[in-house]
């Protein structure tokens, strides 16, 4: 065997090993959480209030809290994010202004979430307390918005950039306005890409703990308005594990969380494939 060939085999061997290692660990985690957690899941677990700080009972408020938080965050972030992307991609030309905005979104995307949490705590929870209710779904959502805006803006811009210019020109050449062209041609074509960015950012909100620990508060009560404090499933998992030490409850929550995230990722993947197919 030549030296080159032998090196190639060694490299191949090491890379396969690394891959196998990753897959084994991932599967082990998944298997552990699911095998322990799934048996916790029951109708009661999903629909009842927790008792004893979450050491007993269900996780209903955390499910509801997650849904409210995600819904509220998207409700605010989607129009702002998609609107910004449209503005950047369809109405502005390359230049210092656009570069500044892009730099800001990039920078925002790289900030650790606990920093967003700290900002949200100081700004929304404390400073704006009379308007946000302090620790509340609103404060959490506003923090979540800042966190996912860069994701939505960047991915939506990408989706808009991928819309062939020939379609824009074809539409404008028929004597239509820029806005009509965006509304009727550009956005529909970019839609799957935009949607998958939104779905991915749901994943980010669902999985986030640090930022919401500081802004949602962690109330175990059923949230009634957006001014009530709450907790998400991730937060619940963390708090149950840390405060009660009841690992079964934490693992059950973890299993629900994993299932939720898997569903979200599969949906995003499916939509993304549809987008790719459309342009090939």
């Amino acid at each position: 065997m030549s030296k080159v060939k032998r090196n190639q085999w060694i490299a191949f061997g090491l890379l396969s090993l690394a891959t196998a290692f990753t897959i084994v660990i991932l599967l082990a985690i998944l298997f552990y959480v699911m095998s322990q957690g799934l048996e916790m899941i029951s109708w009661e677990f999903l629909t009842e209030n927790p008792r004893n700080m979450g050491a007993e009972g269900g996780i209903y408020p955390a499910i509801l809290g997650t849904i409210y938080l995600v819904g509220m965050t998207l409700l605010i972030a989607t129009p702002i994010g998609v609107g910004t992307a449209i503005y950047l991609n369809e109405y502005t030309r390359e230049g210092p202004f656009k570069r500044t905005i892009r730099f800001t979104t990039e920078a925002l995307a790289g900030i650790p979430s606990i920093v967003f949490g700290l900002f949200g705590f100081v700004f929304f929870v404390i400073l704006l307390e009379p308007y946000t209710g302090g620790w509340s779904i609103l404060s959490g959502s506003l923090t979540g918005v800042i966190m996912i805006l860069p994701v939505i803006i960047r991915a939506s811009e990408e989706a808009l950039r991928n819309v062939p210019n020939a379609l824009r020109e074809g539409s404008l050449a028929l004597g239509t306005t820029r806005w009509y062209t965006i509304k009727k041609t550009v956005l529909p074509v970019a839609f799957p890409g935009i949607l998958s960015s939104i779905i991915l950012s749901i994943g980010r909100v669902v999985g986030e703990t640090a930022a919401f620990l500081l802004t949602l508060g962690g109330s175990l009560l059923l949230p009634r308005t957006i001014f009530d404090g709450s907790r998400t499933l991730s937060l619940h998992l963390y708090m149950v594990a840390m405060e009660t030490g009841n690992m079964d409850m934490a693992l059950g929550t973890g299993a629900v969380l994993i299932i939720l995230v898997l569903i979200i990722n599969f949906t995003a993947g499916f939509l993304f494939k549809r987008l790719v197919k459309r342009f090939s």
């Binding site: 390359e94 379609l167 020109e169 539409s171 050449a173 028929l174 004597g175 239509t176 306005t177």
Partner: protein, 256 residues
């Protein structure tokens, strides 16, 4: 071809065009008569598309471009500041090099323009769509599947769909930028037949790479070279008896 003299539809006077610093068109002056087919020929990169796109101001979309000189359509300077570009583009339709149907149904493709101009009545839209598809010689092929996506058609059908889409907004002028360069010979023949049909009612400006095509479909031809018009005249004369040496070299295939 009988030689009745039609009145000028598009009058181009001393037109220069710049992409940034780069000058793509040099002081072009051409008169394009009404209800005739006017062909633009010349080697690739000589400014044919650029010229065509000044006629519906599609070049406005490109950053840092500059136009000097005038283009008058029906006596109106289309670069005048009081011109409504949207209205101009309604009056001056365009068919592109690569068919670019919208990713929607055949019906919606044709109804796109009329809807943009505020027509909502379903019956009226039906009428416009049928009429436009007939004009584009596509009706018989698609009348049973108007709800299928426009992109499901063959290349030649897609191009005729794009022509129908233009017909639907009733422009007086149709610009075509190498409309058959992406098509097979059979589809090309169909488009050429269509052009021969449309010349009765429309002023057509067509860019073509293919000199036989210019000879087959056009009344007048302008030969472009490096952003300048070298020669313009009745197509048969330009092809049989060119005045300039460059024209002769080009049409005899010495370059380009």
């Amino acid at each position: 071809m009988d030689k009745q003299i039609n009145k000028t539809k598009i009058a181009v006077n001393q037109l220069s065009f710049f992409y940034g610093e780069k000058q793509a068109l040099h002081e072009i002056s051409i008169d394009i008569p009404e209800r005739e087919v006017f062909a633009l020929i010349g080697p690739s990169g000589c400014g044919k598309s650029t010229f065509l796109r000044t006629l519906n101001r599609l070049n406005d979309l490109i950053h840092k471009t500059k136009v000097i000189g005038t283009i008058e359509i029906d006596g109106q300077d289309i670069y005048n500041s009081d011109i409504d570009v949207v209205q101009l583009r309604t009056a001056v339709g365009m068919v592109f090099q690569k068919p670019n149907p919208f990713p929607s149904s055949i019906f919606d493709n044709v109804a796109y323009g009329p809807r943009a101009h505020g027509i909502k009545d379903k019956k009226e839209l039906n009428k416009i769509v049928e009429k436009s598809l007939r004009q584009a010689a596509l009706w018989d092929e698609v009348k049973d599947r108007l709800n299928e996506p426009g992109t499901s058609l063959s290349g030649g059908q897609q191009q005729r769909l794009c022509i129908a889409r233009v017909m639907a907004v009733e422009p007086g002028i149709i610009l075509m930028d190498e409309p058959t360069s992406a098509l097979d010979p059979l589809a090309t023949t169909k488009i050429e037949d269509l052009i021969n049909e449309l010349r009765k009612n429309y002023t057509i400006v067509i860019v073509t790479h293919n000199m036989e095509q210019a000879a087959r479909v056009s009344d007048k031809t302008a030969f472009f070279l490096d952003g300048e018009v070298v020669e313009v005249g009745p197509t048969d004369e330009l092809f049989t008896n060119p005045e300039k040496q460059e024209t002769e070299d080009y049409i005899t295939g010495k370059f380009g």
